[in-house]
């Protein structure tokens, strides 16, 4: 068996050196992978930053238009102003207003806004009622008459009930 000793030793040496080589090889491989990930992340961040800069520049350029547009949207804590606005319009147009409900609802595809649904009834002359509805659609806030109806209630008076929606910013 003594003649096998050099062979055993050479195999052991081969295994030892091979193991050390594998350690170095996979070490280098791991570092290369880390470099690739870091470079990719850096590029993504740089690209995102470049895009963000151009968006920021664009937003600054359209700041005035954005402010104007914001004026048509009800602020989160300003829903009461809509009710007051409706009451003011009703007084101005000479109709009797009765608000039956105000509720907020989510709309599919709206992530930054929600809809304010206002249900109300009004009574007065037909001309006053139509003027009231016309004014509703030209308010300084975005509004839309979703449905409604007028009917004669006697003595040349008309009664109407309407569903109107407004847009509110979402927190």
């Amino acid at each position: 068996m003594k003649y096998l000793l050099p062979l055993i030793l050479s195999i052991l040496a081969f295994l030892l050196i091979g193991g050390a080589y594998a350690f170095l090889f996979f070490g280098v491989n791991g570092y290369v992978e880390r470099i690739a990930v870091a470079v990719q992340s850096s590029e993504t961040l740089t690209r995102r930053d470049t895009t963000a800069r151009s968006i920021e520049k664009f937003l600054k350029e359209v700041e005035v238009e954005r402010e104007t547009l914001s004026g048509f949207v009800i602020k989160n804590d300003d829903v009461v102003s809509v009710i007051e606005l409706l009451e003011q319009v009703a007084r101005d147009e000479g109709v009797v207003l009765s608000i039956s409900s105000v509720s907020a609802s989510d709309v599919s595809g709206w992530d930054h806004h929600e809809r304010i649904d206002v249900l109300f009834s009004v009574s007065g002359s037909f001309a006053n009622l139509t003027d009231f509805i016309a004014t509703l659609e030209s308010l300084p806030v975005a509004s839309r008459v979703e449905s409604g109806g007028f009917e004669v209630s006697g003595n040349a008076n008309w009664f109407g009930s309407f569903a109107v929606t407004f847009i509110k910013e979402k927190l």
């Binding site: 062979l7 050196i17 870091a38 850096s42 963000a52 937003l59 806004h113 509703l136 004669v152």
Partner: protein, 179 residues
Amino acid sequence: MVNLLPQQIQRKLARQYYVRLGTVFFLLLAVAIFIGGVLLIPSYFASQNSADSYERYRDALEGAVGLKEREHVSDDIAQLRERVRIMDDYAKSAFTVDFIDALGDKVHTGINVYSISFSRNEGGAEVAIEGEARTRQDLLSFVELLRESAAFTQVTLPVSQLVVDINPSFSIKMNYQKQ
């Protein structure tokens, strides 16, 4: 040439030959891998340094103030885009004033409208009006006027409402298309 060695010695020598051959093979292989490994050591440390420095650069970039400050802009632009879309939709779909004007133009002296109801749909509204006409002819001419108008489509008057000649009540359903 005749091998005079006994068979047993011959086999032993052959075995020793193959053992030596294997020993040399593994030694040469170990030496080759050793040389490769030695050459790999600088790459190992260089890649380690590079990985550390790239990761430090990325971390610094992530922590950059400007980048954090600009995080909100994508939200802002998404909000603006959505707002413009909603406003455009709202502006295009306002119809009530035009609808009442269009209907008012068609109502003539022989027609009394008692009730108007509408519900917004794509491009206009579904409308129902109820009232009373002075004569059947007045009612027919009113319906004809509505049908001739481009603003009103699918004007439907139940035939049963034409039975009465004087003061017939009517209930008309139609679609209003915003012009």
